[in-house]
C-alpha cells in the first residue's frame, strides 16, 4: 500500500514537473506572465504534443490503478505516460538548459524511446495485465532491448535525428537505415501481435479491447504510413523531407492523447460489477434449472465461452451436464480455471476466458452465489453418469448373453452334432459290413438305430438354431429373417431392405429376436392369416415393422416375451413399440440407431 502511494505520488510529481518544463514562467520586473511555449522559436503545438499525451496516460493510469489495484494495466499506463513525458523535446531542452551534459541527455533520450514498447506491452497485456501468450512475452522482452538500441546507435554516431540525411557520414547512413528499419519492423510486428491477440481472444476480451482499437487505430495507421513515407523518401529516394513532414512526425503523438480514454473504457467494460452478480442472485431465488446455470454465470461474468464442469467423485473426473468427461484446460492457455469447493472434494470448476483472471474476487463471489445450485446440478450430473454406466452395463450384459448363446451353439455344432453325424457315418459303415456278411437282421437293427439317430439330430438342430441362428452370423439379418419366414406356418411377406452394409452384430441379434418372437406370438395368438415384415434403413436408424391381420390384443405389459424384447432393443439404444387394436391386428415396431 505504501509502495502504491509512493508510485502514485511520484507519477503526479512527474506530470507536474513536465508541465512546468513546458510552461515558461517568465519573470518580468513588474509582473509575471505565463506563456505556453518550449525552447525559443518552437511553435505552440509542440508544447501540446509534449504535454498532452503523457499527462493523459498518467492520469488515466492513476484512475485505472485505483480502480483495479491488482491489475498491472494502470502501472503500464503510467509507464507509457512517463515515457512520453521523459522523451519529450521540452524535457530534454529543459535539462540542457539547466546544464546537464550530452551523456545525460542521451540516457534520457533512450529511456524516452521506450514508451512505444511499453505501449505495446500494455496493449498485449490488456485487460488482464499479464502477457498470456509465450510469443507475446518473448517479443516484448526483445523489443525492450532492441528499440533502445536502435535509439542509442544513431546518438553514438552523432546524429540529431532522422530528418536531415544530407549531413551524415556514410557509416551513419547504414546505422540510420538499420534503426529506421528496426522501428518499421517493431511497428509491423507489434501491430501483428495486437491483431493476433484480437482474433485469438474470446468474446469477453474482444468486448474490452474494442474501445482500445478504436482509440489506437488512427494513431497506428497514421504512424505506419508516416514512417513508411519518411523511410522511403530519405533512404530509398534520397529526398530530404521538408518542414511539413517533420511537423507531421512531431504532432503524431497528439493522437495518443485520446488513447488512455480507450483503455479506461475498455477496462471498465471488462470490469464486472457486482450488479451482474446481484442479477444472478435474483435469478437464483426464482429457481434456476441446472441447464440454466451455465448461461446465467456466463451472462453475469460477461463471458459467453464460460463452461461449468462438475466433479464426479466416483469417476474422479470433471463432466458436463450430460455426464461427458471434460478435461480442464491447463493454465497459461487462453482459458482460466477456478475450482470451487474443497480441493480434495471439489463441487465444480468454472472454465472461463483468461481475461477474467484479475476479476478473481468477482468470479469467486458469483461462484459462491450459485454454490447450492451447483451442488444440486452436480448431483444430477452424477445421477446421469450413473445412469449412463447402468446403460452401458446393460448393453454389456446383453452382449455377453448373446456371445454366450453363440458359444453354446458352437459347442453343440462342433461337439454333439458333429459326433452324432460321425456316429451316423459309422453306423452306415456297420450296416454295409453287415450286408457284406449277409446278415440282414443286424442290418435291420442298424437301420432302426440310424432312424432314431436322425430324429435326435433333427431335435438337436432345432434346439441349436433356437439358441443362435448361424445364418445370422454367416449371411446377415435379412437372409436370417427370410429363413424364419420360410419356416413360418402362415404366409409372411418381406418388404424393403436394410441396405448393402450389414448392421453391427448386437443390432442384428436384437432385431432378429424381435422378428422371431413377433412371428411366434402372431402364430400362437393372433389367429391372423398373413403377416408382413417391413424393413427400412435411414441415415441413422434401422427400423423393422412386423404386422399381422389377426385379433390384436398384444400388450407390452402382458407376457414376458414382449417385455424381454423391449429390454433387448433398449439395451442397444433402440425402441420397441406395440400397436395392437381389436380390428387391424398387431404391429410391432422396432428401431435401432445405426451408422
Amino acid at each position: 500500500m505504501v509502495q502504491r502511494r509512493a508510485i502514485q505520488g511520484g507519477a503526479v510529481a512527474l506530470v507536474t514537473l513536465a508541465s512546468i518544463a513546458e510552461v515558461n514562467v517568465t519573470l518580468y520586473s513588474d509582473h509575471i506572465t505565463w506563456q505556453l511555449t518550449g525552447p525559443a522559436g518552437w511553435p505552440w503545438y509542440l508544447a501540446l504534443v509534449d504535454i498532452l499525451p503523457g499527462s493523459a496516460f498518467i492520469l488515466a493510469g492513476l484512475v485505472a490503478w485505483s480502480l483495479r489495484p491488482r491489475n498491472r494495466v494502470g502501472l503500464l499506463m503510467i509507464g507509457v505516460g512517463a515515457g512520453l513525458l521523459i522523451g519529450s523535446h521540452a524535457f530534454e531542452w529543459r535539462l540542457a538548459a539547466v546544464g546537464f551534459g550530452p551523456v545525460v541527455l542521451d540516457v534520457v533520450g533512450i529511456v524516452g524511446s521506450l514508451w512505444p514498447v511499453v505501449l505495446l506491452h500494455l496493449l498485449l497485456a490488456f485487460p488482464g495485465g499479464l502477457l498470456v501468450s509465450r510469443l507475446d512475452r518473448v517479443l516484448v522482452r526483445l523489443f525492450y532491448v532492441v528499440v533502445p538500441l536502435a535509439a542509442l546507435l544513431p546518438l553514438v554516431f552523432g546524429s540529431p535525428g532522422l530528418g536531415d540525411v544530407s549531413q551524415y557520414l556514410p557509416v551513419f547512413d547504414v546505422v540510420a537505415r538499420a534503426a529506421g528499419f528496426t522501428y518499421l519492423a517493431f511497428l509491423a510486428i507489434g501491430s501483428g501481435l495486437v491483431i493476433r491477440r484480437w482474433f485469438l481472444g474470446g468474446r469477453a476480451r474482444r468486448r474490452s479491447m474494442s474501445p482500445l482499437l478504436w482509440a489506437m487505430g488512427p494513431y497506428a495507421v497514421f504512424l505506419l504510413l508516416l514512417y513508411a513515407a519518411l523511410v522511403l523518401r530519405a533512404l530509398i529516394w534520397h529526398v530530404s523531407s521538408g518542414d511539413f513532414w517533420l511537423v507531421l512526425l512531431d504532432v503524431s503523438p497528439l493522437f495518443l492523447a485520446g488513447v488512455p480514454a480507450g483503455f479506461l473504457i475498455g477496462l471498465l467494460r471488462s470490469g464486472l460489477d457486482m450488479s451482474s452478480v446481484g442479477d444472478l442472485v435474483v435469478k437464483l431465488s426464482g429457481g434456476l434449472a441446472p441447464e440454466q446455470l451455465q448461461p446465467a454465470l456466463a451472462h453475469a461474468l460477461h463471458d459467453p465461452s464460460l463452461e461449468v464442469a462438475y466433479w464426479l467423485p466416483a469417476q474422479e473426473w470433471f463432466a458436463d451436464l450430460e455426464g461427458r468427461r471434460i478435461e480442464l484446460p491447463t493454465p497459461d492457455s487462453e482459458k482460466a480455471v477456478s475450482v470451487l469447493g474443497d480441493p480434495a472434494g471439489p463441487v465444480a470448476a468454472l472454465v472461463y476466458d483468461s481475461s477474467l483472471v484479475h476479476e478473481g474476487q468477482l468470479v469467486d463471489t458469483a461462484a459462491a452465489a450459485v454454490r447450492m445450485a451447483l451442488e444440486n446440478a452436480r448431483l444430477q450430473v452424477q445421477l446421469r453418469a450413473q445412469l449412463d454406466e447402468v446403460r452401458q452395463s446393460r448393453a454389456r450384459l446383453v452382449e455377453a448373453a448373446d456371445s454366450e448363446r453363440q458359444r453354446v451353439e458352437r459347442d453343440l455344432h462342433d461337439g454333439a452334432q458333429q459326433q452324432l453325424v460321425t456316429l451316423l457315418l459309422s453306423l452306415q459303415a456297420t450296416k454295409t459290413e453287415a450286408m457284406r456278411h449277409s446278415d440282414p437282421e443286424t442290418a435291420r437293427l442298424v437301420d432302426a438305430n440310424i432312424a432314431e439317430l436322425k430324429k435326435a439330430l433333427d431335435e438337436l438342430r432345432e434346439l441349436a438354431r433356437g439358441i443362435h441362428p448361424t445364418i445370422l452370423t454367416q449371411a446377415g439379418l435379412v437372409p436370417a429373417i427370410r429363413s424364419l419366414t420360410e419356416r413360418c406356418p402362415i404366409p409372411v411377406e418381406v418388404k424393403g431392405d436394410l441396405g448393402d452394409a450389414r448392421l453391427a452384430p448386437p443390432l442384428e441379434t436384437a432385431l432378429y429376436f424381435v422378428v422371431a418372437e413377433a412371428i411366434t406370438n402372431a402364430v400362437k395368438h393372433s389367429k391372423g392369416r398373413r403377416m408382413c415384415v417391413s424393413l427400412g434403413r435411414g441415415a441413422s436408424l434401422a427400423a423393422i415393422d412386423i404386422s399381422d391381420d389377426g385379433v390384436g390384443g398384444a400388450d407390452l405389459s402382458l407376457g414376458s416375451g414382449l417385455r424381454g424384447l423391449t429390454d433387448r432393443v433398449a439395451a442397444v439404444g433402440g425402441r420397441l413399440e406395440v400397436k395392437s387394436g381389436q380390428p387391424g391386428g398387431t404391429t410391432i415396431h422396432a428401431e435401432v440407431p445405426c451408422e
Binding site: 455344432h413 452324432l420 453325424v421 460321425t422 451316423l424 457315418l425 445364418i471 454367416q474 437372409p479
Partner: protein, 215 residues
C-alpha cells in the same frame, strides 16, 4: 471317381472317406482347413470336393467362400457343400454363381446312404444336388397367392425332384412313370406356375428354386 474331403474333424473325415470308398469312390486327399484344401485342389486331379460350410478359423462360412473360389478357379471340379443346417439362402448363393457341378446337403443326409451317394455322383458328373429338406421347406412355404396349391400331388413330387437337381431319367424311374408322361407333367407345371421352360437340368434347378423362394 476321385474325391477330396475337407472338414476340421478328423473322425468325420475318416468316416466319410470310409463310406465313400465303400461306395467305390477314390478319396485322394483330406484337408482340415481351407489352406490345405486349396493346396490339395491345386495338386490333385479330382472330380469332386466335399467340404463343410463351417471351417477354421472363424467357423462361420469359410467353407462357403472356399467352395465359391474353387468353382471359379476350377470350373471342371464339382463342389458338394455340407452343413448341419440347411438354408435356402446358401443354396441359391452357391447355385446362382454356377448351377452345374454344385451340391448343398445336410450332414445327416448320410442317414439315407443311397441318396447321399447318388447326390455325390451327380455333382461329380457335372449335375447339381439340393438337399430335399431345402426343397421341402420352400415348397411347404405358405404364400398369399399360392400357385403351388394348384398343382396335383404328382406334379408337386415332380417339382420337388426337379428342384433337388435330378435328371428326367432319374425322376421318371424314381416315380415309375414313362419319360413321355414326365414331360407332360413338366409342361403342365411350367404353365401353371407361369415359368419359362429352362434348358438343361441344372438351369432348371436354379429357375425352380428361385421361383419357390421369391413367389
Amino acid at each position: 471317381m476321385r474325391v477330396i474331403v475337407a472338414d476340421d474333424s478328423v473322425l468325420f473325415r475318416e468316416g466319410l472317406a470310409r463310406v465313400l470308398e465303400g461306395a467305390g469312390f477314390e478319396v485322394v486327399g483330406q484337408a482340415s482347413n481351407t489352406e490345405e484344401l486349396d493346396r490339395l485342389v491345386a495338386e490333385e486331379t479330382a472330380s469332386l470336393v466335399i467340404l463343410d460350410i463351417r471351417m477354421p478359423p472363424t467357423q462361420t462360412d469359410e467353407g462357403l467362400v472356399a467352395a465359391k473360389r474353387i468353382r471359379r478357379q476350377h470350373p471342371e471340379m464339382g463342389v458338394l457343400l455340407l452343413s448341419q443346417y440347411v438354408e435356402s439362402h446358401h443354396a441359391l448363393d452357391l447355385l446362382g454363381q454356377s448351377p452345374d457341378h454344385v451340391g448343398y446337403l445336410l450332414k445327416d443326409r448320410f442317414a439315407d446312404l443311397g441318396e447321399f451317394i447318388d447326390a455325390v455322383r451327380r455333382v461329380g458328373n457335372g449335375g447339381s444336388a439340393v438337399d430335399p429338406r431345402v426343397v421341402a421347406q420352400l415348397l411347404g412355404r405358405k404364400r398369399s397367392h399360392d400357385l403351388i396349391e394348384d398343382l396335383t400331388d404328382r406334379e408337386k413330387s415332380v417339382l420337388a425332384l426337379m428342384a433337388e437337381g435330378r435328371s428326367n431319367d432319374a425322376i421318371a424311374s424314381g416315380l415309375k412313370i414313362s419319360p413321355k408322361t414326365l414331360e407332360a407333367h413338366i409342361g403342365t407345371i411350367y404353365s401353371k406356375l407361369g415359368l419359362e421352360p429352362a434348358g438343361g437340368d441344372h438351369r432348371r434347378v436354379l429357375a425352380v428354386l428361385n421361383y419357390l423362394r421369391s413367389s
